[in-house]
């Protein structure tokens, strides 16, 4: 009798614990930002895990990769299967751990890293950290990425249990929080964030004078770790500086990157210096005055990059290979559909406000 009572008590405790934990989990799912309509950049990192992981090229870096290169063009014109693991203000240690994370699933032929991130030597802002780190699946790479990224006011546990951070979002909940509680809709095309509108670059300010132009020790440490990791895995690392006119890219920074690329025997492409070759025209190829390229600009520089990947890295044309080709047919259809939707919306906007 006594044993039966003990058993019943244990069952009750277990049921109670399960109810509490399930409630907390559901609350957490409800309260976490979904990044579907606003600030869609927050959804980019997580989207990768839904992919077939058989990429020839992986891009890592900040907005200068996910807004400036189009994997659809690499496939359509060169048969190169690529993915952008980019996120807003992705810091270089985050790029490193995202690369580690990616290598848990696949080993690409080429990794392309955008060097602007070297300007930061310390964690910057929680909001940007969250957009990169929360989307990562749990692994030691994520643990280390969080540890390296925490600002003074952040706590590791808040990333383990995001409900601790988002519990006060209850008053901001919308229908989308319920609709996308467990499954969100895609916001990118293999990590590329599409924009078709045009805002010409003008009056871009010169860079302000800096007290010290040297990249910091931490930034260099992770640059070296990215290089070593790629080398150890037999991956060709290519450094790029996207053609964004702002934030300002200093000559002193350029010299350091050129010297590093030479020392490590890495290919470095500074698209700021390749405007003639790529055909970029900042009167028509940017949607925000020179910070990021629009679709037209992204397709131009990607087309040029594709040729380099074939010539320099020897990447093969995989068009015709199944199931990849079928998969890309679907992807290109979605890409084309969004392109048309955006052009229509833009035309409607222009018609309403000529």
């Amino acid at each position: 009798m006594n044993r039966l009572m003990k058993k019943n008590r244990l069952v009750k405790i277990l049921i109670s614990a399960a109810v509490v934990l399930t409630s907390l989990y559901l609350l957490q799912r409800l309260l976490m930002p979904k990044y579907v309509s606003d600030i869609v950049e927050g959804a980019l990192i997580a989207e990768y895990y839904e992919e077939e992981k058989d990429h020839d090229v992986i891009f890592i870096g900040d907005c200068e990769v996910y807004e400036n290169f189009s994997p659809a063009v690499l496939w359509e014109e060169y048969g190169i299967n690529s993915y952008i693991r980019g996120s807003a203000q992705q810091l270089i240690w985050q790029s490193y751990y995202l690369l580690e994370d990616t290598l848990r699933y696949e080993t690409p032929e080429v990794v392309i890293f955008n060097v602007l991130a070297l300007q930061y030597n310390e964690p910057q802002r929680e909001a940007y950290n969250r957009m990169t780190l929360e989307g990562m699946e749990w692994s030691m790479a994520k643990v280390h990425a969080i540890q390296a990224s925490l600002t003074e006011k952040e706590h590791f546990l808040d990333y383990v249990f995001p409900i601790l951070r988002y519990h006060s979002r209850w008053s901001e909940l919308t229908g989308e929080d319920v609709e996308y509680m467990f499954q969100t809709k895609p916001v990118s095309h293999n990590g590329y964030y599409m924009r078709v509108d045009v805002k010409p670059a003008q009056n871009v300010p010169e860079g302000k004078i800096l007290p010290d132009y040297r990249f910091g020790d931490t930034a260099w440490e992770y640059m070296e770790r990215i290089t070593k990791l790629c080398r150890d895995k037999g991956i060709r690392l290519i450094l790029v500086k996207a053609p964004s006119l702002y934030p300002y890219w200093y000559e002193e920074w350029e010299e350091q990157i050129e010297a590093y690329a030479k020392k490590e025997d890495l290919l470095y492409l500074n698209f700021l210096e390749l405007q003639e070759e790529t055909g970029i025209d900042f009167r028509t190829d940017t949607y925000d005055g020179g910070l990021h390229l629009n679709l037209s600009g992204a397709e131009k520089i990607t087309r040029w990059l594709g040729n380099v990947l074939v010539q320099e890295a020897g990447l093969l044309d995989r068009r015709g290979e199944e199931p990849l080709t079928t998969l890309w047919e679907e992807k290109l259809a979605a890409y084309e559909a969004e392109k048309q939707d955006q052009y229509k919306a833009l035309e409607a906007e222009q018609a309403a406000d000529p």
Partner: protein, 191 residues
Amino acid sequence: MKRLMMMLTITGLLFTAGCGNSEKTIQAASNPASGEEQEEAGDSDESGETPAAQTEKGYLFESEGVKISVDADVKPVIDRLGEADSYFEAASCAFEGLDKTYTYAGFRIETYPEKDKDLTACIILTDDSVSTPEGVCIGNSVEELKEAYGEASSEEPGMLVYEKEGMKLCFIVDGDEISSIEYRSSVLEAE
């Protein structure tokens, strides 16, 4: 059942313990400036204006009789200074609102969005045609700087920093000579 209800209640209490207002959430921080640091500066008043947007703060720059403070609403300043020689705006990555740059002869003002206002992020002196109200300009020596301002609050490689009321006045030096002067908000520093 009673025990389950009690556990749920306790969990709920723990869950809401220390609960701040909803503005602390990341989603609500729809621009990089709306973080806890701003909240620590004080709560919004009934008009919705932050104290930072209403008052002058720390060291001020002055041009043609117009006092310019970091973290203050830039609109009345621009209205009084007149149209800038050059204007540039840039959307912050992944955030709503625009960072704006107004360039005038000898200096430029950069802003950050805060609710429906643009607050001054920094004022950068760009040549020796203007000076600080304390009489220091680009090209002055470090000795002249210290005569005017005293010892710096802190020194970094290539820069002397004077902190006052939560803002920073930074003198960037090249050797013994001042090469740039910046009035900086601390709000935008690492959160």
